[in-house]
Each structure stands twice: as C-alpha cells, then as structure tokens.
Amino acid sequence: MGDTFTLIDEGRISSITATVSNDRVRLAPDALKAALGWELKPQGLCKDDRCVPIGRHADRVNANGADLAAVAELLGRPLAIDLPERVACLGASAAQRAAQLASLEAPDFTLPDLSGKLHKLSDYRGKKVLLVAYASW
C-alpha cells in the first residue's frame, strides 16, 4: 500500500513507494535505503561508516518506517515537499556547504557546453581558473 513518490537527493531522482497522510510522508525502510542510501540499524540511521542516533525521533523513524521530515532533520538537510504532486527534494545543508568552502578546496562540478560536451572543473588542474557565473537575465 502507498503512493508512488518521487524523491530527489541533490539531483539524483528516485521513484519510491511512500505513505502520505496528515501532511506527512512515510517511507518504508527499504525505500529509504533505495532513495537515500541510509539504513535503519540498532545504533541509528546509518550510511557507509556513519551513523546518526535517532534519539527523540524514535517515534517517527523506526522499523515500521521513516518520516521524511524527521529524516531530513536528523541529517541536518533542508527538505522541500510538494504533497499534491508527491515530490520532495533534499538539499545540501548549510553546514556541509560552509565546511567545503571554508576548506578552500574548490568544489568540483561537471557541466555541459552549448554542444552538450561535458567539462569537469578538476580537468583544469595545473592552470589558474577564473570561474565566472553570469546569466542572460
């Protein structure tokens, strides 16, 4: 039972089954793992070698399923939801972005040019780069 729900994790789009009721989105544990890579374990919400204790969210994140807003809160990540369209988006936390920028290691990215050819910032190592963001608007 449940609705087909689209979950976007920093650009990665997953279609999962979720239960939507009372303005809440509840994911089965396997859907949570499939969409976000986080798994419920006795020590908390875990991914790779990291675990986040569930703590006060135990009533909303447990073996029966995980409330999406509670998961976002536990991970410290911003969440945008459109319930009527059954879509949600998890963004990057300010702490994560700030730590990356404060390290002064230039975040890598890959983007297309007009012809669709992909360019990766780190391919230009060895050269000074002036990165300029602009827009037609």
Partner: protein, 190 residues
C-alpha cells in the same frame, strides 16, 4: 577562464556565447549547481581557483566592464587589475587568513531556498507549472535578495526579468543595503 550561465536552457545564453565565440569553456548550469556549491547569489560572480584546485579568492562581484556602473556603482577596474596581478605574478589581494574572514558562507535559509528552487525546477520540467510556482515563490521568500533564485526564476515563470517583478525585488534589495555589491576588497578596508 570558465564561464557558467545560470540560465534555464542553452538557448538563453546561446546568442551571447556564439557572438563571443570564446576559446574557453562556456558552460550551462540550468540546475544552479555552481551557485549552490560556491554560494553564488547574483551575477556576475567570479571565483579564483589556483593551479592546485584551491580557492584563491572566493565568490565576489566581478564585472568585466563598466557598462552598468551607473546602476550598481562598482568599477570593474580594481577586480581586473587584481586578477592580472594574480595571473602574471601570483600576487593575491589578501592572505589566506583574511580570505577566510571575508568569505561569505551559506545560511540554512539560503540552502532551504536552493532546495525549494530545485524542487520547483523539477516540477516545471515535468509540466507541473502551477506546483512549481508555489516553490519558486517560497524560495524567493527564504532568500529575498538572491538574484539567481528570484530574478533567475522569472524567465522560467513567464515573468519579465526586466519588468515590474524585477523592480519590486530590486527596490527591496536596495532598501536592504544592496547585499552582494560589496567587493571583498572593500570589506577588507572597511
């Protein structure tokens, strides 16, 4: 140099790119990935990245000429001169410690705004324009002075980025002290 157009599709900046016929990579970032990674809230913004992939000068206002100087009051000369000095002899306008102090880092509201924008963009692309509008509006409420979100979403939403919605935003932004048009070097001196 690498340029990144924060436009909804390649056709928007295409006339400018084709007219300039640049020899450097000229990229399209419809999803505002670079804006998110480098905390870019307006254009033009420049970031200097050294040979080792490290940020030598963080996101900062970076005009290439003085065409719109009367509107924003920023001269292009100081940044261009500093850029030439860095490129030719490696001189930086400030040391690493000062650089970190001057760096503007994202806030939780700004990241929430980017997340709302990302959701809105997905909804728009999947034909759900009415739903998209809700989230473009919410993104603008969370980051009222972020031009990449508020002005950048106007062409997507069918609004004129040079029309009344923009001037409403511009007035709010001017009343707030024109955040963003404050070069790092000025911040250092102030």
């Amino acid at each position: 140099m690498i340029t990144v157009a924060l436009d909804k599709c390649a056709d928007d900046p295409r006339p400018f790119i084709e007219a300039a016929a640049p020899s450097h990579p000229s990229l399209i970032d419809a999803e505002h990935r670079v804006a998110d990674l480098y905390r870019i809230v307006n254009v033009p913004t420049g970031v200097w990245i050294n040979e080792h992939g490290r940020i030598a000068r963080p996101s900062d206002v970076a005009f290439g000429n003085d065409t719109f100087k009367d509107m924003h009051g920023i001269e292009s000369g100081p940044h261009l001169n500093a850029l030439r000095a860095w490129v030719t002899n490696g001189t930086l306008p400030f040391d690493a410690g000062t650089l970190k102090d001057l760096q503007r880092l994202p806030t939780p509201d700004e990241q929430s705004a980017r997340t709302e924008f990302a959701l809105a963009w997905y909804l728009h692309q999947t034909g759900k324009s009415e739903a998209a509008e809700r989230h473009f509006v919410r993104a603008g409420e969370l980051a009222p002075h972020d031009f990449t979100i508020r002005r950048g979403s106007m062409p997507i939403r069918g609004l004129d980025p040079m029309g009344p919605p923009f001037f409403e935003m511009y007035t709010q932004w001017a009343d707030a002290g024109k955040p963003y048009y404050e070069p790092l070097t000025t911040r250092k001196e102030s």
